[in-house]
C-alpha cells in the first residue's frame, strides 16, 4: 500500500515536473510545479514527516499562487492566457539538465542512504519543534530575518519604477512612437464645471466619437441605458 502510494506520487511528481516545461502558459506551468511539490509533500508524509509534508503543501500553494501572479504582472502577458514559449537557451539548458541528472543520479547511487524506520510512538512533531527552537534556532532565525529583509527590499526596489513610469509621478502610458504622445485615451480639459456629472458627459462624448458616424441609433440607445436601469 505504502509502496503503491510512493510510486504513484513519484510518477505524478515527475510527470507534472515535466509538464512545467511543456505547457505554453505561465499559470499552467506554475500550478504544474505546485502539483509536483504537493506530490513530494505526500512522499514526506509517507516517510512519517507529518508536519514537513503538510507544510510543504500549504507553503507551495501560497508560494506558487504569488509567483504565478507576479510573473503575469511583470511579463505583460494579459492574464497568462496567451500561449507563450516557456523555454529558452535550449542548448545550455539541455546541457545543464543532463549534467544535473547525472550528478544527482551518481549522488543517489553513491550515497549510503539511511534505513532506520521511525520507532513506534515517537513524536516527530515534538522532535522537529525542539530542533527548530533549540539547537538550530540561530540558523533558522537568521535565515528568516534575512529572507524577510530581502522580500521587503525587493518590493521597495521593484514597486517604484513601474511599466508606465515612476509610481509616484502619475501613470502615463508610453507613446506609440518613441518620444511621441502617450497612447490611450486623451483626457479632455473640463470646462470648470468639475464633479462627476461633468466627467460623465465627457465620457459619453468620447464614446460617441469612437463609434462609427453613419450609424446614429446605437448612441441614443447607449445614452438611455442608465435611465432604463434606474
Amino acid at each position: 500500500m505504502t509502496n503503491l502510494a510512493f510510486y504513484t506520487l513519484s510518477a505524478l511528481a515527475i510527470w507534472s515536473g515535466w509538464r512545467v516545461f511543456r505547457v505554453d502558459s505561465m499559470i499552467r506551468a506554475t500550478f504544474a510545479l505546485m502539483v509536483s511539490f504537493i506530490c513530494v509533500g505526500g512522499i514526506a508524509l509517507l516517510m512519517s514527516a507529518d508536519y514537513i509534508g503538510i507544510a510543504t503543501v500549504f507553503m507551495m500553494a501560497v508560494e506558487m499562487t504569488v509567483m504565478g501572479l507576479f510573473m503575469v504582472m511583470f511579463m505583460m502577458n494579459p492574464a497568462g492566457l496567451n500561449p507563450m514559449q516557456m523555454v529558452h537557451q535550449h542548448r545550455f539548458s539541455i546541457g545543464a539538465g543532463i549534467a544535473a541528472f547525472i550528478g544527482l543520479t551518481v549522488a543517489v547511487l553513491a550515497t549510503n542512504l539511511p534505513n532506520n524506520p521511525l520507532p513506534a510512538g515517537r513524536d516527530t512533531l515534538h522532535d522537529l519543534g525542539v530542533e527548530l527552537l533549540g539547537g538550530s534556532m540561530l540558523i533558522f532565525e537568521t535565515a528568516g530575518v534575512t529572507l524577510l529583509a530581502t522580500m521587503v527590499g525587493a518590493v521597495v526596489l521593484s514597486s517604484r519604477r513601474g511599466r508606465f513610469g515612476d509610481s509616484d509621478a502619475g501613470a502615463v502610458p508610453p507613446g506609440l512612437q518613441p518620444g511621441g504622445q502617450p497612447a490611450g485615451r486623451k483626457v479632455e480639459k473640463s470646462g470648470g464645471h468639475g464633479g462627476h456629472g461633468g466627467d460623465g458627459s465627457h465620457d459619453m462624448n468620447m464614446n460617441m466619437k469612437g463609434a462609427p458616424k453613419s450609424d446614429d441609433a446605437p448612441h441614443k440607445g447607449h445614452g438611455k441605458m442608465p435611465e432604463e436601469e434606474s
Binding site: 508536519y51 500553494a61 501572479l69
Partner: protein, 304 residues
C-alpha cells in the same frame, strides 16, 4: 467508531449539511425581503434546473483546470470535514497535524478559486480570480494566527486534542477574538457576502460567470460543502465540537455546526460590501493586528 462508520457519517453529514445550508441561504434571503418560507425541496429543484440545462463552453478554455477546480474545491471541503473529530479519538483523517492540514486546505482554496476563474478564458471570471487572490491570501494569513492561538492551550496541532482541551472552557470564551476573525475567513472561503470578491454580482457571477449546466451545479454544491466543512471546523476549534451533556457527541457537533452555518449565512446577507482596496486596508491594518493580539493573548495565558 470504526473507519467505515466514520466515513459513512462524514458523507451523510456533508450531504445533509449541503441541503440544509442551501435552504438556510434561501430562507435568509426571503426573510430579509419580507417574504414567506421556502420549500425544503427547493435545493433539489434548483439542482434539477441546473442539470437539465446545456453545458456551454467558451473560446479556448483550459478544460482540465476548469473541471479540476470544481472537483478540487469539493474535495478540499470534504478533506476539511474529514479532520473534524466526530467523537473522542474519532476522525476520518486522524493525524497529529490535522490543523496544519486544514491550513493547507485553506491555501488550496485560493489556488482552486483562482483556477476556476482563470480557466474559462473570460474577462469577468478572470477579474474575479485575481481579486480573490488579493483578498484570499491576507485573510488566510489571519486564520493561521487564530488557529495557532487555538492550538496553544491544547499543546497540540491535532484537532482531536484541541476539542478535548475545551472540556472545561470553550475556546470561544477563552479566546474571544478568535471566532469572529475565523468567521470572516469562513465568508472568504465560501465566497460569501462582503468577502465574495470571486463570484459576486458586481462581476455578473465572477469566476462562475461561464459555468452552466452541471458545472454550475457542481460549483454551487462545492461552495455549500465548503460552508459545511468550515462550520464543522469552527465548531470544533471554538465551540467544543462533540463535547456536550446527555446527547451523543455527533448530535452536539451537528447542532453547533448548524448554528455557525446560520451565522455565516446571516453575516453574508447582512454585512455591507466594500471596494477591494478598502477591504485590503481593513484586513492588513486592522484585522491582522487583532489576530496578532489574539495569538499574543493565548501565548501569555499559556505561559501563565
Amino acid at each position: 467508531m470504526s473507519f467505515a462508520l466514520a466515513l459513512t457519517t462524514l458523507i451523510l453529514f456533508l450531504a445533509i449539511g449541503i441541503w440544509i445550508a442551501a435552504i438556510l441561504d434561501a430562507l435568509f434571503y426571503r426573510r430579509i425581503s419580507g417574504q414567506g418560507g421556502v420549500s425544503v425541496l427547493s435545493p433539489f429543484y434548483a439542482a434539477a434546473a441546473h442539470l437539465s440545462r446545456q453545458r456551454l463552453t467558451t473560446e479556448a478554455p483550459d478544460r482540465l483546470n476548469w473541471y479540476l477546480a470544481i472537483a478540487g474545491y469539493l474535495a478540499i471541503a470534504t478533506i476539511g470535514l474529514a479532520v473534524v473529530p466526530f467523537g473522542p479519538e474519532t476522525a476520518v483523517i486522524g493525524i497529529k497535524t490535522s490543523v496544519v492540514l486544514w491550513g493547507a486546505c485553506e491555501s488550496l482554496v485560493v489556488v482552486l478559486v483562482f483556477l476556476h476563474g482563470w480557466s474559462p478564458n473570460s474577462p469577468l471570471a478572470l477579474i474575479g480570480a485575481y481579486r480573490y487572490v488579493a483578498i484570499g491570501l491576507p485573510i488566510m494569513l489571519l486564520s493561521m494566527f487564530v488557529l495557532i492561538a487555538a492550538a496553544l492551550p491544547a499543546r497540540s496541532l491535532d484537532l482531536r486534542d484541541i476539542v478535548a482541551s475545551q472540556e472545561g472552557l470553550w475556546n470561544v470564551i477563552r479566546q474571544p477574538l478568535g471566532l469572529p476573525l475565523f468567521l470572516l475567513l469562513g465568508l472568504s472561503l465560501t465566497l460569501r457576502g462582503p468577502f465574495d470578491y470571486a463570484d459576486s454580482a458586481d462581476l455578473a457571477g465572477g469566476t462562475s460567470v461561464e459555468d452552466s449546466g452541471a458545472n454550475r451545479a457542481g460549483w454551487q454544491v462545492a461552495r455549500l460543502a465548503m460552508l459545511v466543512g468550515f462550520s464543522a471546523i469552527a465548531a470544533s476549534t471554538f465551540l467544543g465540537g462533540y463535547l456536550g451533556p446527555v446527547l451523543p457527541g455527533i448530535v452536539w457537533l451537528a447542532i453547533k455546526t448548524l448554528i455557525l452555518m446560520a451565522v455565516v449565512i446571516g453575516l453574508s446577507h447582512l454585512l455591507a460590501r466594500m471596494p477591494v482596496a478598502r477591504m485590503l486596508g481593513l484586513i492588513w491594518k486592522f484585522l491582522l493586528p487583532i489576530a496578532f493580539a489574539d495569538l499574543l493573548l493565548a501565548g501569555l495565558v499559556a505561559l501563565a
